[in-house]
Symmetry: C2
Subunit: 344 residues, 2 copies
């Protein structure tokens, strides 16, 4: 096997799994075999891919024979349980769950930020949390130019982050509410139709929820900067698919708005949407289905008269760059750098 790879997807029927399939096709990924793995419940289902019907196989300890790359997005406990078997079988696992992200032996990577960290992988590579990914896409290019000391971020997170069933629930619940019926939350803990709520992950003793702590800790790990200070407030909004974030940055020294704009306009994976005249800025609807993170509202923070502050607003597709696309880009870098562990 030289330049085509055997890829397995764990969790191919979920929201991220669906986009992984779309992207493998769209990007002409050098595939040899594509193996879809899922729980016994989903085994036997067929999934269309490039004109063929692929049959989902039951995920087992010996499912990884001959596999080069595993794209895992079936939940943290599934990754915990099966990733070691995949690694033993010689595959590299690109894990989209939180299972290994803070493991010091596991690289946590957004290719535009820290692709070099991939070189040290020992079989497992972690894909960061979606809200962290879209944030660092805008913050890292600026950070490289002028160190960011502190970030204050508030998120406007789409319901896609809670999975495919939650997306269906937003739609169904909205129909109910419009029909004058009460909303009955199922997957999602609160009414989301015409409402919003604080991100429903567990709250720690410090009052931060897990989602917020991910944004703090994952950013520090990827930036290799334990001193960058970050506070985050994560909020779910009745939007289907792309996450938005309001980001306030405090720099070590003054950074002019014009420099910030120039740097971001040259950044890979970033598209500037910042038309003040037309009042046209990043919107989740326009970010949905796009690979690039849309960045706008770029302005000097008037609350820092010394010029050390920049405000911006972004929208990025949570399922693409926030999850599936980043995982596939990691695989592409591994291939380009020739550091996929090829089986046998």
């Amino acid at each position: 096997m030289t330049d085509h790879y055997n890829v397995a997807i764990m969790g191919s029927t979920g929201a991220v799994g669906q986009v992984l399939l779309e992207l493998l096709d769209e990007r002409d990924f050098p595939l040899n075999e594509l193996r879809l793995l899922a729980s016994a419940r989903s085994a036997g289902k067929t999934v269309p891919f490039q004109g063929k019907a692929l049959t989902v196989q039951e995920l087992k300890e010996d499912s990884f024979d001959g596999i080069d790359i595993v794209l895992a997005s079936a939940g943290g406990s599934v990754s915990q349980q099966y990733a070691p078997f995949a690694v033993q079988a010689g595959a590299v696992v690109i894990d989209n769950t939180s299972a290994f992200r803070m493991d010091p032996e596991v690289p946590l990577v957004v290719p535009e930020v820290n692709a070099d960290d991939l070189l040290a992988h020992r079989g497992i590579i972690a894909n960061p949390n979606c809200s962290t990914i879209v944030m660092v896409m805008a913050v890292w290019p600026l950070y490289r130019h002028c160190r960011v000391k502190r970030i204050v971020v508030s998120t406007y997170q789409a319901i896609s982050g809670a999975g495919a069933r939650a997306m269906e629930e937003l739609e169904a619940q909205t129909r109910e509410v419009l029909a004058g019926h009460p909303a009955v939350p199922k997957e999602i803990p609160h009414q989301v139709a015409f409402n919003l709520f604080s991100h429903n992950s567990d709250i720690g003793a410090d009052g931060y929820c897990t989602e917020e702590k991910k944004m703090v800790l994952e950013t520090r790990k990827m930036f290799h900067d334990e001193d960058i200070q970050i506070t985050a407030t994560c909020v779910r909004v009745p939007v289907m698919r792309a996450h938005s974030e309001s980001i306030n940055l405090e720099f070590e020294s003054p950074l002019a708005e014009s420099d910030a704009r120039r740097i971001l306009s040259q950044a890979l994976g970033v598209e500037i949407v910042d038309d003040r005249e037309a009042n046209h800025f990043p919107m989740p609807l326009e970010a949905s289905g796009k690979d690039n993170v849309l960045v706008g509202r770029i302005r000097q923070d008037i609350s820092r008269p010394d010029g050390t502050g920049i405000d911006l607003f972004l929208s990025g597709d949570q399922l693409r760059k926030g999850a599936a696309l980043n995982a596939i880009q990691i695989a592409e870098v591994l291939i380009a750098k020739d550091c996929v562990r090829v089986a046998v």
Copy 2:
């Protein structure tokens, strides 16, 4: 006339006007006459109030004879044009538009913050912008205890802020989108169903929109503190009625989370909704129709290890405390302090 007042409403058929009528009834406001004034287009319509049908009269220069209190919410240019005639006729105008807010001779008041400023009124009193009002309800009690140096706020603003027609549009547009039809924005400049966008007020040379500048300038005026630094990012979300805000506060000296919580739990007009166990925090749906601003997610800002930061999240009814309720509370204070200019 001793303890009952002749009240005129300019703009009684709008979203705020409707809530003004609700509140005058609900709060048993000491009414003698209630006169509804509107443009020629709306004149002749009848509006139900306390079991009677009030006929809307055309707003003219001589509409204010015998009126003690004018509640104005028919738009800035209407207030500009007619408020002077109301004052000449001996009435006090409580203006819900932006027309006079930054006029140094006009008190800008949230009664819980700066009721004493009312004493100096010369006939016109300005009601602050909705997003400013709900913010200062949480910030002022803390500020009084320990000066706030800097505020970073991101808003999640309901569509009610754009008026009654915009609320209808959110509903109609959502139905269209659910039916698979494209959204056709009318009142609102972008699709709002399952989307969000940067607040569509004019953007200044500094990149801030008018709504954001209001939050900065109005807060400084009410706090009598030109040095408080504020940066705001204002965003419209597909929520019907209450505004939410993610607020990061930087204090002059350390403030413990427990003190912040105690101070806010004692603050008038504030209700703490901060159940970490049940993941239950302020939501616009629960704030809608309520007089109190709901405040939660109160926590020490981990990005300020010296203890000088507090984060919080709030939801407040934009039409009640954010507009109509505040105006009526101003009238109630004027009555209690005996500084309504009584006609004749």
